[in-house]
């Protein structure tokens, strides 16, 4: 029997064309007023965020090449998806990232040097979410954070901290993961739990087309956005290289979540322009044509064209570039100052409460090291 060819499609919601014209696709019409209500400072902030993110990428890659980082995880190309969605969140929201959302963390108030500490091998976590804009730790086991996010959102709901009608306090959860991660069982289980408990949560998938070397077509026969619908939640596919639609769609989804209307799912179509990480060689698995196709859809060029058409000045763009350069050089300088933790750190915080093995082994290591240092037999 010949397998039947079936076509599954979903519209891609877009506000800005690749040329930078504000021309909403039919499904995006409703978002227009949200954008029109934004002031110039906010619109300019989106641009600043995106150029900072891109600049930081260069710094991170260089630090890795110089042997200062074990790994760098680039986000060149994904700036619009990340900046728009992050700027749509409110301070009381909780963000659960995977490991590529450096600019999201920065927008939430995280010092990026903390991230470099992790990639430098100085820490396994590096920050306290409660003191860093509720931006939770990076997760290296793919998709496991989707469940933590869902549990957290269930907790918000059980606490009565969403759906009260007070936009100043109602909270929601925004969770990021990639197209490859959608194949993990945890990603599906998270959708089941979120839908069952109507958790205040937004699932934000950055479909950057590749999971290391495996194309999204190997992860899914359907547009990923159909996944959410299959679990019973509103699902949307957006142009992830359009910062305006990323902002508007996430903002609406978060507002619905906060106001008690349950979870939703956003697939942001984007592209990872560089390597997966500095350990990767993308020339082995993808074509120049494909990269060129996406380069024409660059999120920063497109948005800049629109800002220019609205009258943004050359000085503004220059100042944004300067700011990005300053951030990057500051981060670079401070990243090099991240120190090696003390050896006692190995045993610290493995448990919350005293644990005899930790005490015993720490004491043993101390005595062993002292034996060398003191030259004692």
């Amino acid at each position: 029997m010949v397998a039947q060819e079936r076509e599954f499609t979903a519209p891609t919601v877009q506000l800005l064309t690749p040329e930078g014209a504000l021309r909403p696709s039919p499904e995006a019409e409703a978002y227009l007023p949200l954008i029109e209500a934004l002031d110039d400072a906010t619109l300019e902030q989106f641009h600043r965020d995106m150029v900072i993110s891109r600049r930081l990428d260069i710094t991170g890659a260089n630090l890795q090449r110089q042997g200062q980082l074990a790994l760098w995880v680039p986000s060149h190309g994904q700036e619009a998806a990340q900046v728009g969605s992050a700027r749509a969140s409110r301070p009381q929201d909780h963000i659960f990232p995977s490991y590529r959302e450096h600019i999201v963390g920065m927008i939430r108030g995280l010092d990026p040097v903390r991230i470099l500490g992790l990639l430098r091998g100085a820490t396994l976590g590096g920050w306290n979410p409660a003191e860093n804009g509720n931006f939770h730790l990076y997760t290296l086991v793919l998709a496991s954070q989707t469940l933590h996010a869902t549990g957290y959102a269930m907790g918000i709901k059980f606490d009565g901290a969403s759906g009260t009608g007070d936009p100043e306090t109602d909270a929601a959860v925004l969770v990021y993961y990639g197209d490859g991660s959608t194949s993990q069982g945890d990603a599906s289980e998270a959708l089941v739990f979120a839908a069952s408990y109507q958790a205040p949560e937004v699932f934000f998938v950055q479909n950057n087309q590749w999971a290391i070397s495996v194309p999204v077509s190997r992860q899914s026969r359907t547009p990923l956005s159909l996944r959410g619908a299959g679990f019973g939640m509103p699902s949307l596919r957006i142009d992830g290289n359009d910062v305006l639609v990323s902002y508007a769609a996430t903002r609406v989804a978060l507002e619905e979540a906060r106001s008690g209307q349950g979870p939703s799912f956003i697939e942001a179509l984007t592209y990872r322009m560089g390597a997966h990480t500095t350990a990767d060689d993308p020339t082995k698995y993808r074509t120049d044509d494909e990269v060129a196709y996406w380069a024409e859809r660059d999120p920063i060029i497109r948005y800049r064209a629109w800002l220019e058409s609205r009258g943004a000045s050359a000085e503004f763009f220059a100042s944004a570039d300067e700011e990005a350069a300053d951030v990057a050089s500051d981060v670079r300088k401070r990243a090099l100052e991240v120190t090696v933790p003390t050896r006692e750190t190995i045993f610290k915080h493995v448990y919350s409460e005293p644990h005899p093995l930790m005490a015993e082994q720490a004491a043993w290591l101390q005595a062993y090291e002292t034996g060398f240092e003191g030259g004692a037999a």
Binding site: S144, H148, D186, V192, H349
Partner: protein, 319 residues
């Protein structure tokens, strides 16, 4: 013991409204072993959650709930079904406090009905506790009596660390006294539950009943066996065990789990290291075989019996 755990859970639910029970079929049904019977009716379905059928999902969402300040108590339906949650338990739950530099804790209890002797089918009779005792960041305990179960479940829930709470399901039905007034010993302490002078035997969970039977038989034959109940598998409290070995000079370690690379192996190695000069015989292990749990019709051949324990005791005495 099942009723003692129910009573302990009820106390914990009453004492702290952040305590939540989560699991499959734990609501109106009360769990397949009825351990949560009546609790949803008493505390409501926002405290006792019948979850979707997804073990990784249960543990993973419990982690998020713990981050939010809740104290989830999870029921895994049967021992053999904990593995879909293995990743969340070992790579996430066990390391969350560490990765957060101690700024959060993970007060989650995972209740696992475990072990054989109930004549059940594949994946319903296993003893997977060593996987978790091998994982830093987790605590692992197993009660052997209703009294211990009642107190240990409450202490486990009060612990700010994740606790794997292994309930020996063959001991759910036998009755025993519970002293409601005092808790006895701390959660992570082992203890001598029967004194003897010739040989020490040590075990946990359902094996304790086998060891006590063996001690009875040996007593009739003139051999005095001391029985130590581990109660906690991570951390292991070696004090009472080493003192006992100091007195008897001989140790037999018994468990339902496979013998290789197990809790019993760990104890044998540690006692050999720390009590070498007290020992008059090598530490001997009695366990099931290193095979999958066989069809239930063969389980009495497979699981350590009082006779198999006594055979090891005889070997120890023969040195």
């Amino acid at each position: 013991m099942a009723k003692a755990i129910t009573a302990g859970l009820r106390e914990a639910l009453r004492a702290d409204d952040k305590v939540l029970l989560m699991g499959e079929d734990i609501g109106p049904l009360g769990g397949v072993f009825r351990v949560t019977e009546g609790l949803q009716a008493e505390f409501g379905d926002h405290r006792v959650l019948d979850t979707p059928l997804a073990e990784s999902g249960i543990v993973g969402t419990a982690i998020g709930l713990a981050m939010r300040g809740y104290r989830p108590v999870i029921e895994i339906q049967f021992d053999g079904f904990i593995f879909p949650a293995f990743d969340q338990i070992t790579t996430q739950l066990s390391r969350m406090t560490l990765r957060h530099d101690g700024s959060i804790s993970m007060p989650i209890v995972i209740r696992v009905p475990y072990g054989g002797h109930i004549g059940s089918i594949e994946h319903h009779q296993e003893s997977p506790e060593a996987y978790f005792a091998h994982t830093p960041g987790l605590r692992v305990v197993s009660p052997s009596s209703p009294h211990d179960a009642y107190w240990m479940i409450q202490e486990a829930i009060a612990s700010n660390d994740p606790v794997l709470f292994f309930e020996p399901k063959s001991r759910y039905w036998p009755k025993g006294p519970v002293d409601l007034d005092h808790s006895g010993v701390p959660l992570h302490s082992s203890r001598v539950i029967r004194s003897g002078t010739d040989v020490t035997v040590v075990g946990h969970g359902a094996m304790i009943s086998t060891l006590l039977q063996a001690a009875d038989i040996a007593g009739e034959e003139g051999t005095s066996i001391e029985v130590v109940d581990l109660r906690s598998l991570s951390p292991i409290d070696y004090g009472p065990l080493l003192e006992s070995v100091g007195r008897t000079g001989r140790l037999v370690v018994a468990q339902e789990a496979y013998g290789s690379v197990s809790v019993g192996s760990e104890i044998a190695a540690t006692v050999a290291e720390r009590a070498f000069y007290s020992l008059e015989a090598p530490v001997l292990r009695v366990s099931s075989f290193d095979t999958p749990f066989p069809p239930a019709a063969l389980e009495t051949e497979y699981l350590p019996s009082p006779d198999r324990v006594l055979e090891a005791v005889d070997r120890a005495l023969a040195y």
